[in-house]
Amino acid sequence: MGSPVQLSLGVALKDEATFANFFEKDANAQVLAALKNLTATSSSEAQNIIIWGAPGCGVTHLLQAVCHDAYEARKSLQYLPMNELIGFDANDICEGLEGIDLVCIDGVDAICGNRSWEHAFFHLYNKIKEAGHTLVFSSHTSPPSLPILLPDLKSRLLASVVYHVESLTDTEKQNAMIMRAQARGMEMSEDVAKYIMQRAPRDTSELFELLDRLDDASLQQQRKLTIPFVKETLQF
């Protein structure tokens, strides 16, 4: 029987998606400012934003960061990850959401071509706009290229303010990984980060998932992040 595994649940430092732990690059300064402004203002005017970028560029992180800020500001919110929810009844999920201050729809690409979701979002968009509330979409596809069948929905999405989120370069990803490790209380040297970057998937979400594994293993084994430790843990 192996030794009991120390659970890091509830012990690891929080690393939820916030603006503070989103690696900022100059090209993304404007989208970050616009998103932070959503919860900072008390404007009653409806605000609709779409952020889009390549997979791994951080749109999900940004939407969750907006939710974090809204929660802190005691605003009501609903986050909808469409890749998870596409199989459920669109009307059930959208019911009553016009009464919510902030609705974040993550991955609108997933519902393109799905008649019932397109209609549900069209009606939700109208009701949220009427209510003067905020709707934020994310997509991995340029909004004009979204294969939406319902033109009424597409034109409404394109009436939103569209921001592109630039992906990080490899060097920026490396620095982002060091920053995220630090946020979890782990010290990661540049050499270790470079070692991981040359071997691991270069998609940021997958890269940051590795940090979870390293965090757990480092806590269980009480070891620092060295190249041999990383090699052993991640089996490179």
Binding site: L9, A12, A29, Q30, A34, S44, W52, G53, A54, P55, C57, Q64, C67, H68, Y71, S76, L77, Q78, Y79, L80, P81, E84, L85, F88, D89, D92, I93, C94, E95, G96, L97, E98, G99, I100, H119, H123, N126, A131, G132, H133, H140, S142, P144, S145, P151, D152, K154, S155, L158, A159, S160, V161, V162, Y163, H164, Q198, R199, A200, P201, R202
Partner: protein
Amino acid sequence: MSNTAWEHCVSFLRDELPAQQFNTWIRPLRVDDTQEELLRLIAPNRFVLDWVNDKYMDRIRDILTHHTTINSNQVEITVAARKVASFQKFRPHEDQAADMRGSRNGRAAPMAEAPSYNQNTYSADTPVNNAQPVNAAVGQSGGGPQDRDEFFDNSFNSINDTANRSQHNTGNSFSNFDETIPSLSSSVYQDYQNAGNVSDQERQVVSVPQPARINKSDVEGGLEHKSNLNPNFVFDNFVVGKSNQLGLAAATQVAENPGGSYNPLFIYGGVGLGKTHLMHAVGNALCEKRVGAKVVYLHSERFVADMVKALQLNAINDFKRYYRSVDALLIDDIQFFAGKERSQEEFFHTFNALLEGGQQIIVTCDRYPKEIEGLEERLKSRFGWGLTVAIEPPELETRVAILKRKADQARMNLPNDAAFFIAQRIRSNVRELEGALKRVIANAHFTGRDISVELVRESLKDLLALQDRLVSIDNIQRIVAEYYKIKVSDLHSKRRSRSVARPRQVAMYLAKDLTHHSLPEIGEVFGGRDHTTVLHACRKIKELLESDADIKEDVKNLLRTLTT
């Protein structure tokens, strides 16, 4: 107490659950601040409530019991009530109060509706407990005692007004506008009496005007018409051009002579061309012309939803009475009636009743009546009884004029060349044109620069960019092999001759630049090579890009082919 306990619980769940689950199911839950003895969580809708109840409630109860002073039987979860149907007289009081506060000055009530919390309470111990947290509802709607005082004062002014007015008008309803002020039903008074937290002073106020109680059968007195008109959509800010001048002329005529020969007015055209703007403009003009005009705007989906609700509540007569007592009924996007037979039938009868009563009907649609699939023939033919006008996509000059007008409204200076630049690129509809302008204005605000063609180009680069540069390695290998006129299998082979090795290095460089694959993965699909070979290839090509014009040209051409 309950807020602190919930915060404590949330911090546990934040650490235990994946971020996606935490944000989807836990963060949307709010605490009902008005409860002192129990922790009542409010879910945005029944779906979230059911999910939380099913998946997380045990854990929530567990955390609260072990880490706070809350007991499991002090925890319950409820759902925010759905928006009530327009026709419903006996509406939840907090909605009624909110509406009345909004419509005090005689204008349309605000479109925002405070959520109410009076349905479907689930307790931690009892699976379903349809509790009625009346106090919570009043608190959540933001209506303090002072608000309620104002509300009652206005309510009774309204009730007294109604009591002095004559009964149901006949014939052309616009000739009797003065007699048809909407009023408040006595049920609201009952609701507040039952609320349990009405102060003595307030009770005194509400107990005075008993004679003004409205008879429920009083067609006019029992109904409160909520116009839903957007005050920003008026004729003054409608930009006219060749494409929409007919529509504008017809709408203006209807505003001047409602219920006349242009009844119904059927406006059709593509999305985002201003149909809804025109419709609201007529409604606003009618309200401007006659105070108290009962003009009701609604999307066809709302009509359907109200009818479904009426059927559920066995209140179809209230529904009929509501929609047949308006002076003007404005229904948007009628094409969404397609296939909804019962709604079509009800609308058909409402349509006939309104037409007979000389009440104005305006309908918008995305196509000509005869072309609407799934719509009854009798409705299609009736839509043609009045005037049918088309709105076409605006021509360039109109698009420029719209942009200039919108920029003026936003107090931004939009030079002509910049306006033309946008208008030439966004041609489909006005809504998208506005979206593009909003992006330009956001950029101008952020950078502190004036709007210029250069700034517009920079701003629209985001909007008009094609797919982000993300392609498959297979595709890269195919395109590179075609470009250098070699076989894909050569890229996988062990051959090291310059004619094959250089294209292979270019392909590896592009794979690293355009995909998220790791270096070992890239090496693997190039004939099982080591990641250091990929690293070497990338460094080599990067170096050659600085020194070799041919390679630079090749990479440029390949990038263009792969990313456009």
